[in-house]
Each structure stands twice: as C-alpha cells, then as structure tokens.
Symmetry: C2
Subunit: 448 residues, 2 copies
C-alpha cells in the first residue's frame, strides 16, 4: 500500500490511522527480528498520534495526504523524546532529544505519525549495520540509511527519512527496490541531524512510489533559518508535478564509468528502462560529462573527510577506540589533509557545479544505473556508492527507482538526475518513467 492509497482511504474514513499504524507494528513483529530495520519503536507515541489524527480527521480537519501516515526516521535525526544514537557506540547512552529536527516537525505538522528510529551505519558512514535486505537476508540493504530503505521495502512503514553524503539514499533505495529521492543540496534543512559533511549532506525521503516521495519532500522542503546551509529557494508542488501530463521527456544517458562499472544485471536493467522510455516516446541521447568528472570522487572524499574530521576532532582525540574502523579511517584521513587540499576541492566542486549545467543542457534529466550491481551478498559491506557520490558532490537532485529483478531475484534500479532546485521537473519525469517501466515486484512476505 502506498501513502497515496492509504491517505485516500483515511480521508474517506474507510481506514483509520490507528489501524494503519497497528498494521505497521504487526508487520514489525512479524519480520523485524530478521530485517532489523529499527533501533527504537515508539509504539505508544505512534498510537497516540494516530488516535489524534483519527479524531482530527473525523472532526473534518484533514491536514493533507500525510495525515495519519506512519513514517520511520533515520537515527541520526532528532525526534523529541527518543535518543539519537547514530549507530554509534559513543552515543549508546544518549539522552532523549528535547526537540524535533526541522524535517520531523514539518512532517508532524503535515500529519505524519513517527513510528520510531531506523537503523543507520555508525555516524552515517561505511561500517555496515545489522540491517538485512528484505529481498534476501544474506544481502546488504546498502547504507548508510539501511533501516529506512529496508523498513519501507518490507512494509513496516509507508515512508521514511534518510540522508545522503555519498550514496546513502540512492544506494539502499536501489538495493531494496524502493524509490529514493536525494533533493538539491540546501533544499531540505539538516537542522537536528548528526552531520557527516555540511558540504555534502542531503536529507531526503524513501517511499514506495515516486508520488509518495514527492509528498514527503513537499512536506520536508524549504528554507530553515536554523540550518544556514538550507537555501531560500521557493518550494514547488512536487505532488502536482507527478500527475500525468503532456509530452515525453528528453533523457541524456551517461556512459563512461556508469557503463564500465555496471555488471550484466544492471546493464540489462538500464537497457530495459531505455527501451521502455523510447517506446513511450522519450528521446534518449548520449550525455557527455564535464572533463573534470575524473577527479570528482577524489574531491568528494576530501570534502567529506575534512568536514567529518572537523565535526569529530575533539571527541576523536579522547575516544578513538570507540569508533568503528571504517569511520576511524575517514576521520584520520580528514585530519591529515591540509587546508590547501580542502580549498582546492571546494573550488573544484564549485566549478563542477557550473560545468555540469552544460551536460544538462538540452535534456530534462540524466539517466544512469543507480548502483554497479544489485545488493551484494556480503554483510561486511554496504556496497559501492560510486554512481551516486558524483551527484552528491554536484548537489543535483536525483530520484532512484526500481526497474527489474536481477537473475538472483534482487532488484536493480536506475537513477534520474535533474537540475539544481528544479525537483518539480525531476518528479514530472520520474513519475512518467515509473509508469513507463511498470515495475511492481515486492520482496517476499517472509524474507529468508
């Protein structure tokens, strides 16, 4: 069931938010001992919020399509009354947060019901969490927003919030066969988030359809004086943009790295998408990346490590041993960099943001595979963000959507890339693409 479907029933009084929340809690009871998507579930708080929603809607005060909808929040994001542990030993004894992150309070204002906190890798970096892929428990769900993707994929909530610095929304969305949207850098406030890198962090939604992701983003988006990285750019109606419209899009397919590194399953998935798009009338042409693309991953890593090290520096000196090896390595890398390295990377990032506009000229979106492979059968990794971090670096909005099943039964996905602060245009194409692709497989009821 999508948010849109649930909300239609809720609005008409055919479905109670309380029932809807109870179904999610039942689903957790049935599968989460194996999937392990949740850190903490606030059953009482969620049921009480659902009752309030029910009463409001009965009294004629329907807040909109998120009213009474159960949601999960990545555990680097503050939710009032719950601890923010960020998957970190260092925060194992964190006290309950005393206020909501801006996105959480915005989702609550829109009527959303917060079920609890979803599992993240430690401080949203690379060390894998315990979460499993709902399609096959031997496979990683991806990371760092592991729990949010897995919870949505397995029906334990209807939507969830994650965040991406490299590929932490796009990759788990792809691996778990759900829709993930990383909006433009600065589109969504990160106030109340534990940061990885203020230069690269992007909060964004997971959902089971493009329109649902649009609903969530519309509620989350917009300038927030408490996060000075957030941009005073107008927020369009992303939901309206998903309505069927005139004309098929112009799509620029990116080759190079994105084809060289993709495995056979992913290439087939991309080809299936291309054919479906062309059959439905899209123009698909080759897109040429800026020359500087070759240095993008190296520069992304410099920015990420420098910002991460700046945030953790003081604590790291005293408690280095309490960090897992992956993030420890990133912080050490950041501490060893010079300001000249950092200034060079930042300048190259600004130039790349300019140059990529040229690549987008004449097309509505860029198309790439969402990840080099389906979710690896390897729980010691969260997979490879190599196809996602260029767009985090460029700050451009992306939507990942599932397109086919690989030979091993796990989903493969494509990634659409839009223009900065033009998420409405991106949603228009993504909703069209979702229909053209017609993917509707779901993970097994009882994952194994």
């Amino acid at each position: 069931m999508t948010i849109r479907e649930a909300s239609q029933h809720i609005r008409l009084g055919e479905l109670s938010p309380v029932e809807r929340v109870r179904s999610c809690l039942d689903r957790m009871d049935a599968v989460d001992d194996r999937i392990r998507a949740w850190v903490v579930v606030d059953r009482e708080g969620a049921l009480s919020a659902a009752k309030e929603a029910e009463a409001e809607i009965r009294a004629g005060r329907w807040r909109g399509p998120l009213h009474g909808i159960p949601l999960g929040i990545k555990d680097i994001v503050d939710v009032r009354g719950l601890p923010t542990r960020a998957g970190a030993r260092l925060l194992a004894d964190a006290p309950p947060a005393d206020q909501d992150a801006t996105v959480v309070s915005r989702l609550r204002e829109a009527g959303g019901v917060i079920l609890g906190k979803t599992v993240t890798t430690e401080f949203a970096c690379f060390d894998p969490s315990d979460t499993r892929n709902p399609w096959n428990l031997a496979h990683t769900p991806g990371g760092s927003s592991s729990g949010s993707a897995a919870a949505v994929a397995s029906g334990m909530c209807l939507g969830a919030i994650g965040s991406q610095t490299g590929g932490s929304i796009s990759r788990p969305a792809a691996y778990c066969g759900v829709v993930g949207c990383k909006p433009t850098h600065g589109r969504v406030s990160a106030h109340g988030f534990v940061p990885v890198s203020f230069s690269l962090d992007h909060p964004g939604p997971f959902a089971r359809s493009v329109a649902d992701a649009a609903l969530l983003l519309r509620a989350m988006a917009g300038y927030d004086p408490r996060d000075p990285v957030s941009a005073p750019e107008p927020v369009a109606d992303y939901v309206a943009a998903c309505a069927p419209g005139e004309g098929a899009p112009r799509i620029g397919m990116v080759g190079g790295l994105f084809l060289d590194r993709a495995d056979e399953d992913v290439r087939r998935g991309l080809e299936k998408a291309r054919q479906a798009f062309e059959t439905c009338g899209a123009t698909v042409t080759g897109a040429r990346m800026p020359e500087a693309f070759g240095e993008v991953h190296r520069m992304h890593r410099i920015l990420m490590c420098a910002d991460l090290a700046a945030y953790h520096q003081a604590q790291f000196q005293d408690r280095k041993a309490d960090y897992r090896p992956g993030i420890r390595g990133l912080i050490e890398e950041g501490l060893a960099l010079s300001a000249v390295d950092g200034a060079g990377a930042r300048w190259r990032q600004i130039r790349f943001k300019g140059a990529i506009q040229e690549t987008l000229r004449g097309v509505d979106v860029l198309l790439t595979p969402a990840a080099p492979t389906p979710a690896p059968q390897d729980l010691t990794t969260t997979g490879d963000p190599v196809f996602n971090s260029p767009w985090s670096y460029a700050g451009l909005p992306t939507i990942v959507l599932p397109v086919a099943l690989a030979r091993n039964g796990l989903p493969v996905a494509v990634q659409l890339v839009g223009r900065a602060f033009r998420e409405a245009d991106l949603f228009r194409v993504a909703a069209w693409a979702e229909k053209a692709i017609g993917f509707n497989a779901r993970p097994p009821e009882q994952p194994s």
Copy 2:
C-alpha cells in the same frame, strides 16, 4: 566632474568623449608622477575607443551613461592587449592578456573607455605599492586597490574597478575620499581576475558619487557562466534606486569594535553622519552583532590564507624569494593550516551569514565608520581593514562614502552595509545619505 554630469554633456554633444579622455590623460601628465596610480596607460587604445564612441553617439547610437566615459582597471584584472602584472615581480614579464575579464567586456559593451591599468599591491595583498594619497603624498592611499581609488580621487579617470577580499575597496575609498562599493559576494563575475580567495573576493567599483558607483555596478553585475562563484540572481536598476524617493531610512549603528577602535577624527565623522541622518528624518538605533562576531577576523584570515595558498602553492615552492614579505607570510600561514581548520572556518562563515540576517532585521542598513583612522601618514602600510573584513566574510554589500575632513585635512568616511543581493536597497539609502551628509571637499589640485 561625475560620470553622470559628463554623460549628460556627452549625450547632448556638448562634450566629446575624445576631449574627456584627453582631459584625463592631461591630468595624469600633471599629477601621476607624484601619485603613481597607473601601471600602464593605453593612450592610443583609449583615444581610439573614444573616437569610436564619439562616432556612434553622433550617429544616434548612444549606449547609455557610460558611453565614452574613461575608466581605470585594477591590474589584477585582464584587459585585452595589456599585461596583467598584479603588482608582482613574478608577473613582471607577463604577456598581454588575450581577452578581457567579464567585467571589462561588460563595461566596454556599455560604452566605457578603458584608460589603462591601476596599481595594486602585490597579488592584492598587504605589501604597500608606490601609490600615494592624492590628499597628501606622505599618506598611504590604502590598498589593495590603491591606484583605482587614487586615480578617481585625483580626477585621472571618472570611475575605476577594484576588488576586495578583506577591505581592499572600502579602505582605499575611505582614505582617498571617494565612493567605493563592494557588492554581495557572487554579484559580480571575477572571471579574468587574479584571485586572492574565491571564498571572499568581491569585484566592485570606485566613483565620485553614489549614483556613479550604481552606474558602474549596473554594468558589471550579473551571473557569468565563466565564474561559477557568480550567482544567478536578478540584477536590479541600481541607478533608478538612487533617484530621490519617499521616506527616510532606518539605520542600525554598530558599536563594539567599530567604536572602540575608531580614533577621535573618525568618531567625530560618524557622529556628524548620525546627526545629519537624524536631521533628515532617519531612525538611528543600535544594532547588535551576532555572538560569533568575536571569531570573524580569525575565520576570515583562515579562509583567505587557505585559498591564497591553494592558488600559489605550485609556484611558491620554486619562487618563494620572488614574493614580498607580507604575501609570503600569508601563503606560509595558509600552507600550515589543516583541512579541519578550513572546514571549521567555512562552516562558521555559513553560520555567520545566517546569523547576521537577524542583525539586519528591522533596519534598512547598518552604519559603521569605514576605517579606524584617516589614511595613516605611513607608506610602509596600507592601513587596517578591521572594519571591512567582517562584511567581506559575511558577503554582504557595502558602500563607503566620505563624510568629513579630519584635523589633518584627510577625509574620513562611513560604511553602509545592506542585505545580500539587495544592492538596490543599499544604493537607495546611500544616495539619500550622500545628500544628507553633503560632503564636497576635493583633494588639492597639485598634491604635495
């Protein structure tokens, strides 16, 4: 003579651009052996451009108020056919630039006549140049845009282009008794400039009146794909904003550092301005700076040194001895900084840009003195940018205008600070303030 006055005569055919250029060249011949504002003067090129302008205007093709107006360009800015030496021994043998910087080509399109290149301190940093203050040759003109300020003050051109990283427009404008505008960071393209710091560099105009500065900025401003730091923000009509209008402004006077460090002459000048503003109906209240103001100068220096070191790094290793001591120290300081220092400074800059909006709430502009003292009687320094660099760090637009003469006969000035990308509002207040102040002293005809 202001640009506005000259252009009215030029438009009506009462003044020939050729005559106007010849007057400037004559003035250079009379005083520049003492003032030393020019590195290179393109007499032939300027006269030929003036002739073209004259022919166009006679043929009825008047391009606007800059048509036929003689201008000076700071020698860190590329002017086609002239070398860009940036006051640096390292660039003593630079070949002629093969294209114009974006601002130069925009000024030419508007009809401006480029007289030549004005003196800058070495790479626009602190080591003083040979330029002297037209009010008194024993005093510094300020820096780094020393030649641009001195040339405008002494009538060797009607307007000039400079740039500011710390206080390199505001300070020389104040010391030389002319109007200097540092627009919002990103408002004017720096394509074709030798950079100091991409995080802090602001190109901007010098002129003899607020309206003239508006004319120059209107021609220079706007997004430029060749400078990815430039912002895609709409450009308003700054000239129209200078027309007398309704209502007196609300002015927030900043105390603290700006009063503590100001000498007696500067405080008297500020008080004169305050009284004039109140007499003309303005509301002057105290403005409270954000708490983080205390770290602003330190963070500004980190950003500046890191960016400067990143730009010079390769060359500095081989030719360290060819840099003057001041800039050598800044580069060495930048090379010694860590990426964590840089990331911390950048994050604090972003936060400060957010916090300063609160300070501006409820007022139209902030008011401070433009410099702690009048131009020091000391040719081994370019003076103190301590009152200017906070606004370079915050990226906010400023206009400096002279207000009174100090006891030693040199000018003192005030600095108005506006909102980001709201230069039209700032010009509106500055034009009003210029009239309220009524300052009209000029440097001596024959400086000594």
